[in-house]
Symmetry: C2
Subunit: 483 residues, 2 copies
């Protein structure tokens, strides 16, 4: 006899009704081959007794199973597992064989390691240059979301929306970028994304095919490297020195190799934070026009500058659509507020929109609209002004303590902008080897960074920690890291 | 003399300071070649007079331009455009040449037309099966977002988050899916996406390469077709009849062709709304195991069923990781609340996570967490219960009026679930040709649908319009559409 009592265990507390739980169990028993087709099952009264259930529940379950084609009833004979079901093949479906690799689904597997942002327990985190999410005006943002959706007109933002992003944000942002970065652009030149990473992904999609070459700095932003590799591209690394990417060395590459794009972060090179000089910027533009490749300008921290104004982005110069510009609000407010943008010629924006449609359909029209209000009401500008002051103080304290504790074993330059201090350590200490010890004392830093391993350097994010935390963190570091 | 007064026009109202506006203009003049290197420019006092500006502003601008390397000063000689800048090549940079195609950046261009969701003015819209966004508990959702971010602990959701999605949502959702769909899954089997489309995109990414074959129904969901084509895949169309995809015809294909995946919507085939029969479901699973291909099950409207319970998804049966399941909250609440999910073996989820990391880094951890609260507090279940009743009434009214006005020229079946009525029209009228006339009277329907052109059919979404709107819409249709 089939072990009905063991198999059918229903939970009264579940949000799923009892009869449906029973349906699900019986279907699983049928498809697993344990209840073969043609098998007689107990009548509803007998089953109700067996399981101590209300008979109505069982009748409801049987009705459902018959409607779905799993069971059939022959009057005066009884209820049976339907004979019309195909033979369940125990070989193919036997659970035990699942561990044999030839039974697994064929999938492609990439060899980069997925970092989950699973943070181990810690008191303080020093990241590699994120804003302080605790300062973000999130209460204002979500209050505005609520207000927007109170009216029938505002509720229209809940429908399917424009693939290129909220119309008001595109317009307001194009003006904001014109004002702050001297770009001559209009709404048609702006595509709203979920952040810089999505911008980079869709840009590379329309530029390159498998096997195509893309230039990055040596060392570069690892997620950019992965993105090129994910498309099957060939990475060519060109030296970065104290004035940014070495353009002479780039020109040597260009004379022999057709490249489709170059990925640069001219405002502050990632990870070393150097600024690409004006002279090199102009030479780079010249080369892009001469050899017809795209300059992907990731301007992730343009808004953060503490002394003189930053150099204008490459995208603000005459470039005949050869510069595609990436920006983000995530670095202004908080990493989780994921709205970024791409600026390019309208022809390119339209092609990018097609790819965006395929990978993500559209953005979050509510949050996008509220972001446009943040610019229009000056909330964003006020927040920038406030955080600039705060971050500058944090930078100064961080640099002061770095000098105090580590001037004998490390070198750094006080950064004029951005959110991180590039610090190289002497060969006599391997800075990465101290991370486990730092974590034990409550200080967490992400160890999986290429530059930690290869350059024995840290990108010390000063913006996301307050002065008390900076002092604590540096005390811990001074305590642990010793030559 | 250089026309300084004409070129340097500053806006006192701009959010950008005057000196920065001046910097931007001069940089543009230099890079456009109009101010050549070595050119002398007026001293700050002369320039201030010329432009009627405060001299301080001009000095600040010049300082900035010198710091950035655009200008240089020779004592007792004056201020000059820096001679160290590379020669600006007027040929390459001349704005007039931009229209010549050979100067444009080389980009790939796909031939699908981007639909922008630019709705023309209208009173009523009949879409092809979206929920009524006006009923969504958005005030509750954004109130919860605000509350979550009030505490320091809650604010942690603003940091970089787990690539696979909010941990609480993954856990709660896995239980919800177990309860409502009989799936035996855990947190490790769930990846949160931005919606069904992103799910489909990342799934195809790990399954197929350029040139690989993927089966879809004939007719199928057009965005699924595009996604396969975007990867350079080969689409094989298999007939769909009144029991769903014709599995015998599929088997004929499989005997000669290696396919990597099949895309199905078994609960309600898109666009015809037929349900894949139990027998065919089991045969399809058998074939997937035998020929080792993936079944991509897009279960976009499982939660909407008005009479008997729906058949369990394929993913609820024993499938040895051959079924990859896609679901979405967008169909429950509103199109713009973009949270979806993929359910698969943990091995597959991990690979999907790598692609998700590359295209979008992560989701919106705040909204994801609130979505988990919606399930835990029962808000989602209450909303479903309410809308089911409302939608059922709308369906009934819609069907009643369809019969009343169009029984002589169209056929349809009252759908048991979902949000749309599949209605085919007689050959004597071409239903698509009436759309412009309908729009004139205030009724908007999206004309760019393959099934309108090819099958002379409509997918009439009944869920997003209230009873008054349904009556108005059908009055307009009855008025306009005549044999």
């Amino acid at each position: 006899m089939f072990p009905w009592k063991t198999v059918i265990q229903l939970e009264a507390q579940s949000s799923s009704p009892l009869y449906l739980q029973m349906v699900n169990v019986i279907v699983r028993e049928i498809t697993s081959g344990r209840l073969p087709k043609g098998r007689k099952i107990p009548g509803s009264r007998a089953m109700a007794d067996l399981l101590s259930l209300n008979r109505k529940t069982v009748v409801q379950a049987y009705d459902e199973l018959m409607a779905q084609g799993w069971l059939e009833v022959f009057p005066s004979k009884g209820t049976f597992v339907s004979a019309k079901l195909p033979v369940i093949q125990p070989v193919a479906l036997n659970q035990d064989r699942v561990s044999e690799p030839e039974e697994l689904l064929r999938i492609k597997s990439t060899n980069f390691i997925l970092q989950y942002e699973n943070r181990p327990p810690h008191q303080i985190e020093i990241n590699d240059g994120a804003p302080d999410h605790r300062l973000a005006p999130v209460d204002w943002i979500y209050k505005e979301c609520r207000s927007l959706l109170r009216t029938g007109y505002g509720k229209r933002h809940l429908r399917y929306s424009h693939v290129l992003g909220d119309g008001n944000l595109r317009e307001v942002l194009s003006k904001y970028l014109s004002d702050t970065r001297g770009m001559s652009i209009g709404t048609e030149n702006v595509l709203i994304t979920r952040g810089s990473q999505m911008g980079l992904y869709i840009i590379l999609n329309i530029l390159m095919d498998k096997g195509d070459a893309v230039v990055v700095g040596d060392t570069s932003y690892d997620a950019a490297d992965w993105t090129v590799l994910q498309y099957g591209g060939k990475l060519i690394r060109v030296e970065v020195d104290e004035h940014g990417l070495n353009i002479e060395k780039l020109e040597v590459v260009l004379k022999t190799t057709d490249i489709k794009a170059i990925y640069v972060t001219p405002h502050h090179h990632f990870p070393t934070t150097v600024t690409l000089s004006t002279e090199r910027r102009l030479r780079l533009l010249d080369l892009a026009l001469k050899y017809n490749f795209a300059i992907i300008e990731d301007d992730y921290d343009y808004d953060f500058h503490y002394s003189s104004s930053p150099l204008l982005p490459l995208a603000s110069l005459n470039h005949h659509e050869h510069v595609i510009y990436i920006g983000s609000f995530s670095k202004i407010f908080a990493p989780a507020l994921r709205i970024g943008y791409v600026v390019a010629s309208s022809r390119i924006i339209n092609e990018l929109g097609k790819i965006r449609r395929i990978i993500d359909r559209q953005g979050d029209p509510v949050l996008e609209h509220v972001m446009s209000l943040a610019i229009e009401t000056g909330e964003l500008q006020r927040h920038l002004k406030k955080t600039l002051k705060v971050y500058q103080n944090r930078r100064d304290l961080f640099c002061h303590l770095l000098t105090k504790y580590f001037s004998d074993i490390s070198t750094f330059k006080t950064p004029e902008g951005g959110m991180a201090i590039w610090t190289r350590f002497d060969q006599k200490i391997m800075v990465g080897s101290y991370f486990p010890e730092l974590l034990k004392k409550g200080l967490f830093m992400n160890i999986d960074k290429v530059y930690v391993r290869e350059l024995n350097a840290l990108r010390l994010g000063f913006a996301s920690v307050n002065e008390k935390e900076i002092t604590q963190a540096m005390d811990i570091m001074a305590d642990v890291i010793k030559p």
